[in-house]
């Protein structure tokens, strides 16, 4: 046992349960939201599931408001109930095919092409099933495509099979998707250039982005036997994090969102986008009609005193050595001295609690840890004028 752990056990804890980085929901045992948030969001998802239009939802909140945590909660708790397969994107890039690139890399080329190939060759009658017994495995089949003629034949066959199964109708899209399968033998992984239109050996259809993407979504939905596919796009506006967006890039950003919504309207694609208030406002200024299509918008409310208490209790519970309820090793009134601005922000709150435990160890404080200690931690992390 390390010295730090020995000291933590003095506080009745196995570890400091408040991650200092406080981004997302990594290593959180209980991924639940404050009850009022959950109730509101579940209602919105119920409406989304029943709606005939685009299944799009915006989660709006400032930095540290809990956007990533909510997306993780949606991915873990909500979407599986609706039989929706979800994909999480962080800072995906402005161009539409950047999304395709990220998506296909998440799925993995070999896995998706194998599943697609098996779906296309699925025998649908006894005779075909008998033949299928002698049909090679995907890997073996790839091995049979020794020369260009055989590969071209396979591309033709696959294109026709996909057309028959209603995956796509456009010849270029069908050809590119077939090549995606056939050329897996040469390279069983994706490269960025695969998703750059006009690049040599590109696997995407030029100027057919929505149709191509729709086909991909259809494929994913069918191979996973899901009722829908969901894209969780975290802080989409963070594309502007490291650079200034030119006029073209700003246009590409809104075009990508618009195309995603177009696909969502035609296919069972759920778009859940988290953004800051300014991200939403600027997107609205760049393209008002686009934002109007996001009819569902959840603005993350600031935490109330009870909700802040609940979050601290939720994090402490699995880290306490002897179990128990409440916010031990903190005194029940430990959060009372926090500024409203700190108590209402999940990230600030968790960072302060993390630092309070550090201070308690440093000062060799006894349990219960007082409100004054929490205030000291707050003043260290967020110095400012005296509390009003």
């Amino acid at each position: 046992m390390t010295v730090a752990n020995t000291q933590l056990s003095h506080l009745g804890l196995t570890r400091n349960p408040f991650p200092p980085a406080t981004t997302g929901a990594e290593f959180v045992d209980d991924i639940s939201l404050p009850p009022s948030w959950e109730k509101d969001l579940l209602m919105r998802f119920k409406n989304l599931a029943e709606s005939q239009g685009s299944k799009a939802l915006i989660i709006e909140g400032g930095y540290g408001a809990g956007k990533t945590f909510i997306l993780n909660w949606i991915q873990a708790k909500v979407l599986p109930e609706h039989r929706v397969k979800s994909y999480f994107f962080e800072n995906p890039g402005v161009a539409f095919y950047d999304l395709a690139n990220r998506l296909m890399r998440q799925v993995g080329r070999y896995e998706v092409t194998k599943a697609l190939w098996e779906m296309l060759y699925q025998p649908n009658n006894t005779e075909a099933a008998q033949q299928a017994l002698f049909w090679p495995e995907f890997g073996q089949w790839l091995g049979t495509l020794r020369n260009r003629t055989l590969r071209d034949q396979a591309i033709q066959t696959l294109s026709q099979a996909m057309k028959d199964q209603g995956i796509a109708t456009d010849d270029e899209i069908l050809n590119k998707l077939s090549r995606l399968i056939v050329e897996t033998g040469e390279r069983p992984y994706f490269e960025y250039r695969d998703f750059v239109p006009r690049a040599r050996k590109s696997l995407v259809a030029e100027r057919e982005e929505p149709g191509y993407f729709q086909a991909i979504v259809t494929i994913l939905r069918r191979i996973f036997d899901a009722d829908g596919i969901a894209f969780l796009l975290d802080e989409f506006e963070d594309i502007a994090l490291a650079r200034r967006l030119s006029k073209n890039q700003a246009a590409a950003y809104t075009t990508t969102l618009r195309r995603l919504l177009d696909v969502a309207q035609r296919e069972e694609l759920w778009i859940i986008l988290s953004t800051t208030p300014e991200g939403f406002a600027r997107t609205s200024e760049l393209d008002k009609s686009l934002v109007q299509r996001f009819v569902n918008r959840y603005i993350i409310p600031p935490l109330s005193a009870e909700e802040a208490y609940g979050i601290v209790a939720q994090r402490l519970k699995p880290a306490r050595i002897n179990g128990g309820e409440g916010i031990l090793p903190f005194s029940e009134d430990a959060l009372n001295g926090l500024r409203e601005t700190s108590r209402s922000s999940p990230r600030r709150l968790i960072k302060i609690m993390w630092h309070t435990i550090g201070l308690a160890l440093e000062r060799k404080e006894d349990v219960p840890l007082s409100a004054a200690l929490v205030e000291d931690a707050e003043a260290d992390l967020y110095p400012g004028p005296a509390k009003t």
């Binding site: 400032g62 930095y63 506006e237 963070d238 594309i239 502007a240 994090l241 490291a242 650079r243 200034r244 967006l245 030119s246 006029k247 890039q249 700003a250 246009a251 950003y253 800051t276 208030p277 300014e278 991200g279 406002a281 600027r282 200024e285 760049l286 603005i299 409310p301 600031p302 109330s304 500024r339 409203e340 601005t341 700190s342 209402s344 922000s345 400012g384 004028p385 509390k387 009003t388």
Partner: protein, 344 residues
């Protein structure tokens, strides 16, 4: 349309009037130029004299504004104009413009027919004339101004049917409309941009202070009337701004550029004064007001480099240097409003 308005220094205009006032028989154009240069009335920042055209624009503006009149080849003060008395009250050259002088110039600009036709008419109801700065500020409505410019390739010539490339020009236009309306007043050409954007905007906003503007990230700006001298203290303004907050539960969230502009328009105060109140809330009531930072790249998305600083100006900058787009304000701030409000 007569688009003669250009960038000018109104302090220099006042000093030119003083120079002419010292010479009752009047001064010729070249005498005004010589005196203005010798007395340091019209000099570049580095002390070099201006070109003749700058002297001409200043002199011509005084004539257009009915502050000077030409008698033969000499320029004399137009004592018929009531503003002359105010503008020649001081005797010392080079002093900053005082409020009465700003008001006098504002009145002269507002009464000028050309200025009214190309610009101020958009602020007022149809057929409504502007008489003076005070009534203009009370009656005028905000307008949106768009400066449009793009490259145009000209093809073809008059002498031949065969089209060929003859050069690349820039097409320029200024569009103005009252906020909330749909009909734009369009002024085409480089002169329009010189007259509206570099001329009247600079006169009214930067020098005379009876208009203020806020640049929008889409390249347009909103111009609205404001009092030359603030009629509200920061404390009074803070109370008004707090009363306008829309609370959801204990918190109200405002977008700083929108709040500053709305307040400016409603209270006839400058954007900077409104932003100053928000900044004082943030710094003086740290525990009740939180700023939401935003990415600079997102504020300036799609804008050319030349407009980045203008777009960023609408936002608050926190002491740590981050640009803040929104403020979250707790209801308990009201107690501090009742107890005297933030510092004024």
């Amino acid at each position: 349309m007569n688009l003669w308005m250009r960038w000018l220094n109104f302090r220099a205009l006042r000093d030119l009037l003083l120079l002419v006032d010292k010479h009752p028989p009047g001064l010729r154009a070249n005498e005004i130029e010589t005196l203005a240069t010798e007395e340091g009335v019209l000099l570049r920042r580095d002390g070099r004299p201006y070109a003749q055209s700058t002297h001409y624009h200043h002199r011509r503006t005084l004539v257009r504004l009915d502050l000077l009149e030409k008698q033969g080849r000499r320029f004399v003060l137009n004592y018929q104009n009531p503003e002359i008395g105010i503008l020649t009250a001081t005797t010392k050259l080079g002093e900053e413009l005082q409020v009465p002088e700003k008001e006098a110039f504002a009145n002269a600009v507002l009464r000028n027919k050309d200025c009214y036709d190309v610009f101020f008419r958009n602020f007022l109801q149809p057929q409504e004339a502007a008489c003076d700065a005070t009534s203009f500020v009370e009656r005028a409505r905000p307008v949106e101004v768009v400066i449009q410019s793009r490259g145009v390739e000209r093809r073809g010539d008059h002498d031949s049917d065969r089209e060929h490339y003859v050069g690349r020009n820039r097409w320029k236009q200024v569009a103005i409309r009252p906020v909330g309306t749909t009909k734009w007043s369009l002024l085409n050409g480089v002169d329009a941009i010189q007259a509206i954007h570099f001329g009247l905007r600079s006169w009214c906003v930067d020098q005379l202070g009876f208009l203020d503007i806020m640049y929008r990230p889409n390249g347009t700006y909103t111009a609205y009337p404001k009092h030359i001298v603030p009629r509200m203290t920061d404390r009074e303004l803070a109370v008004e701004m707090f009363a306008a907050l829309d609370f959801a539960g204990d918190w109200a969230t405002i977008r700083i550029p929108d709040c500053a502009l709305t307040t400016g328009i409603k209270q006839h105060v400058s954007v900077d004064q409104a932003k100053g109140v928000l900044m004082s809330w943030l710094t003086d009531h740290f525990g009740l007001v939180a700023g939401l930072p935003t990415r600079v790249g997102f504020i300036t998305a799609g804008l050319p480099d030349s407009q980045h600083a203008l777009a960023l100006k609408s936002y608050l900058r926190s002491p740590s240097g981050a640009y803040l787009s929104h403020l979250r304000i707790h209801r308990m701030l009201s107690e501090h409003m009742q107890n005297g409000g933030p510092r004024s």
